[in-house]
Amino acid sequence: MTVFRGQRGLREWDRFDGLMAFAALALVVYGLALIYSGSLRSYDGPAVSLSNPVAKQAFFAVVSIGAMVAVSRLDYHHFLHYAWWLYGASIVALFVLIPIGQTEFGSTRWFELGPFQVQPSEFAKIATVLALARFLSDNGGDARDLRIFGMSLAIVAPVGLLIFIQPDLGTSVIFAAIWLGMIVVAGVQRSHLLILGAVFVAVLPFIWTFTVADYQIERIAILLDAEEDPLDAGYNPIQSQIAVGSGQFFGKGLTNGEQTQLDFLKVKTKDFIFSVLGEELGFVGAMGLFALFILLLTRGIRAAQIAGDIPGQLLASGIVITILMQAFINIAVNLSIFPVTGLPLPFVSQGGSSLLTLFVALGLVQSIVMRHRAYRQI
């Protein structure tokens, strides 16, 4: 086993970023309150039970925080070392998902693993970030070369396509953003990006015709005019708009939102949890949530800034981009400025796979922060 310099001492714990961990934890607690409110009418079992969505989420949070601490104790170079294996495993999992995965709402996104649903695309995000960080740093952390630019694109493309055909438009967009963000950090040439952008615009009509599912087109059309079909595809966007808008400045109070409590809002502990927040806690509550996200992301960017080496910097950047884009797209869906797509709100939405992945990712960032001096070349 490779020995890394970062393992030499445990003084790193002093550098553990408590503020970042606090922000993540606060988001989880925020989420627990919203899950409680959102499941109030559908769940009437005992309070302490794994079938209670709040208790279940809290359980996952504890497990995930444990995972974060465990991962932060490890040198992130271990993960970079196995990056290609993790990346390969993700691709295999996504392939296997095609014939045997569980289909819901016309989309195949997870396995049933005992009582848990495992979403390979969640782990694939981290694996891809690791693979990209590994690849770019192996090549000097410099994406100016056209060959590096093309190769990095070739790493992201298969994963993005496998997820696109599930179909999961939102997650595919996140992969695109991860790649774009990481090569920008790695100093991509603007002309390469412009040419790629032009090619993309040129082939867009073909993608539209042959690969975008009807439901995706419908969702995009609904985004433009939700009122056109208020009881079918337009239902969720309209109801979430009403929920968020009617929350006004202070909100209606937790568990007092009619849109939420009377079931006008669907998937309200997951994709539309932000609408619950908007309705019940209002503009003030949303600003609080934004503040926590900005704090978390700023601390993540700080990690990238102070990272001891290029792979650390790229890894931290990729994780920041993942969290940022996922939060942005989820909230944008709730605000009807992005087509409906099944993305959870990071740290807030109900869901174990998502939570575990996010905290593992935070563990990696912590590992980078804790070891930045060890890898800083003095």
């Binding site: 963000g181 009617s246 079931d263 290029i310 910097q313 070349q377």
Partner: protein, 634 residues
């Protein structure tokens, strides 16, 4: 690792830190969260109030609560109708699938389940939407049985826009003999809805279609209440916030005696013989209220609430006896019963006096027309010498030819100076007795006015390519036949009953009615139908002579089979010739009379479309009077 990043080293920065373009991440965070923040501010702060209002509308539903319809009782307080909830299948067009193909599949499924053709459902929905129905509901099938209702309830979960509902329904328990009087309720036609929606009717609310159900719709309906409820996204009730109770409809007490109605119906039904249809009217000569109004054959008005109506309805429409029509409101030649009008007219005009007599020693009277041609007119027997009373009693035709036309070659004047004028005068009296116009009975139905002919009328209706010019001329026979209730004159049994009542009560042509009182839900009487009448232009003394003739007819005349030991009956028979569709001459059997003779309490008119008045109708009338005096008499 010391070589990493060499190419990009900015010597100004601290030693060997990686120098990736991290600042771009800060910008991304700021830009993306600014977008979200601005959009949020727009939704919550700028447009928040509007969304809050939409959220309210989402959860509050104002529904109309139908009132319970007023009940209908007979004169003794016996209920004739019940309110019973029925299962109905309801469609909310706004919730149906958008796709026409999906919609039609849903209709096909309903066809299988309910038996209502898919195309019919489609038409109903499209028509309602064309009428501008947006949020309302449509009833597509009523009176579902329990099994079907349960199946629909289960299936409705997968059928958007389809629901099972309970609707106030109506069950008629008075028996089919009351169907024509009570009528029935049913869904509004598009035409009705155009009018009724302004009166606050819901689209699928039932309304009275015919009978007293329709005539007294305004009283029976009551006024709907409303309920403001909080519902969840499935439309299920969460909370009732405000409720305005509906005001129940007013109840109706009829003057009809259900027992008498049943008795008369059974009596007629069992004595039909060759007759295909029959009718009877039993009423008060004092108030105009109807005790019984019977038509044979009848129909079951409960079928209009039942599924599979179309088949049964078509059968009723195809029946040549036309069961949906009330025979007492349908016209026929009145025959000799009309002679009470001719007698009154002749006495009043003075061309006949009570003592005018004639020796009728032949069944033929030869009229010498104005053109010199001899026309033979026949009587039904050799009466010998008869005065007016005897002529009524024995229903002499020749006497009444004389009373209406006069006998020109003997210098005996008719009602007018010539045959046309005589007909016009007789027509005037016939109208005064209520013929040729609807009686105004308070039942919504196709009441016929009958025909009182006149030279002018004949010229009008006999014109056109189907008739020869001479068909339009008024002949001697037209006046003479009219004088004995033949020819073109027709009257309904109800009209003859009213005319008889006017003779019996000394000259008051009453307006008949079946509704006696209207009673509010709390039992307070809201209104009572007061008698209303027109005065006959006939002197009471003259009517007394006619009554005398009618009495004589029962005591020792053509109507003797109507006689009763218990009560003095007076009446007039009629055996009216008519030509049926095959061109064969047949007779209608009539009897119209009253009892007791000296102070009339009841008028009875009996009609069979085939038969002889004296033998078929008269004895039945006697038995009806007998029943009345024993069981109904107030």
């Amino acid at each position: 690792m010391s070589d990493i990043g060499d190419r990009r080293v900015d010597p100004g920065l601290s030693r060997n830190r990686p120098h990736g373009n991290v600042a771009v991440l800060r910008i991304a965070v700021i830009v993306l969260f600014s977008i979200l923040g601005l959009r949020l501010a727009q939704m919550q702060l700028v447009n928040g109030a509007e969304y809050a209002e939409r959220s309210e509308r989402n959860r509050f539903v104002v529904e109309s609560v139908p009132p319970s319809r007023g009940l209908i009782y007979d004169r003794n307080g016996r209920p004739l109708v019940q309110n019973a909830s029925v299962f109905v299948a309801v469609i909310t067009p706004a919730f149906l699938p958008e796709e026409p193909g999906d919609r039609y599949l849903l209709y096909l499924y309903l066809e299988e389940l309910l038996g209502v053709p898919a195309l019919q459902i489609q038409d109903t929905v499209e028509e309602a939407q064309a009428q501008g129905l947006r949020d309302g509901t449509l009833t597509i099938a009523r009176n579902l049985d329990r099994t079907t209702a349960l199946m629909l309830e289960q299936a409705a979960a997968d059928l958007p826009g389809v629901t099972l509902e309970l609707e106030p329904g109506r069950r008629y328990i008075g028996g089919p003999e009351l169907s024509h009087v009570l009528g029935y309720v049913g869904p509004q036609s598009p035409d009705e809805w155009r009018v009724l929606q302004d009166e606050g009717y819901a689209f699928n609310e039932v309304v009275g279609k015919v009978g007293v159900e329709a005539r007294y719709e305004g009283e029976l309906r009551g006024s709907p209440g409303s309920a403001t409820t909080e519902v969840d996204a499935q439309g299920d009730l969460v909370n009732t916030l405000e409720r305005a109770e509906p005001e129940p409809g007013q109840s109706l007490q009829l003057s009809i005696d259900a027992g008498l109605q049943r008795f008369v119906y059974d009596l007629l039904t069992n004595t039909m013989g060759e007759a295909r249809v029959a009718a009877a009217v039993v009423m008060s000569p004092e108030t105009g209220e109807i005790y019984a109004l019977v038509s044979v054959p009848t129909y079951d008005n409960n079928i209009f609430a039942a599924p599979g109506l179309d088949e049964e309805f078509q059968r009723l429409l195809d029946d040549p006896r036309r069961p949906l029509l009330h025979q007492a409101l349908s016209p026929a030649a009145p025959g000799s019963t009309f002679k009470i009008i001719t007698a009154s007219a002749a006495l009043e005009e003075g061309n006949i006096t009570p003592s005018t007599g004639r020796n009728i020693d032949s069944t033929v009277l030869e009229f010498v027309g104005e053109d010199g041609i001899i026309y033979p007119f026949y009587d039904w027997r050799v009466h010998g010498f008869v005065d007016l009373v005897g002529a009524i009693a024995w229903s002499s035709n020749i006497y009444f030819y004389m009373a209406s036309c006069g006998i020109p070659q003997e210098g005996i004047p008719g009602l007018g100076k010539d045959i046309e004028q005589s007909a016009v005068t007789l027509g005037y009296y016939a109208r005064s007795f209520g013929l040729g116009q609807v009686t105004g009975l308070d039942i919504a139905s196709s009441e016929s006015s009958g025909v009182v002919p006149s030279p002018e009328w004949k010229r009008r209706v006999r014109s056109g390519p189907l008739f020869n010019p001479e068909d339009r001329d008024w002949y001697l026979a037209d006046t003479c036949f009219m004088g004995i209730g033949q020819g073109d004159v027709t009257a309904t049994p109800l009209q003859m009953a009213m005319a008889t009542a006017a003779v019996a009560n000394g000259g008051f042509l009453l307006t008949p009615h079946v509704a006696k009182t209207i009673i509010a839900a709390d039992g307070v009487i809201v209104s009572t139908t007061e008698p209303s009448w027109d005065q006959l232009p006939v002197d009471e003394e003259h009517l007394a002579v006619v009554r005398q003739g009618m009495r004589q007819s029962v005591v020792s005349g053509a109507a003797s089979l109507a006689a009763l030991a218990s009560v003095p009956v007076a009446g007039k028979t009629g055996t009216a010739e008519f030509t049926d569709v095959d061109g064969i001459v047949k007779d209608h059997a009539w009897f119209t009379g009253f009892a007791p003779y000296d102070s009339p309490e009841v008028v009875v008119t009996v009609y069979y479309d085939l038969g002889v008045g004296g033998t078929k109708a008269a004895p039945i009338a006697g038995r009806i009077i007998e029943y009345f005096m024993e069981n109904v008499r107030p």
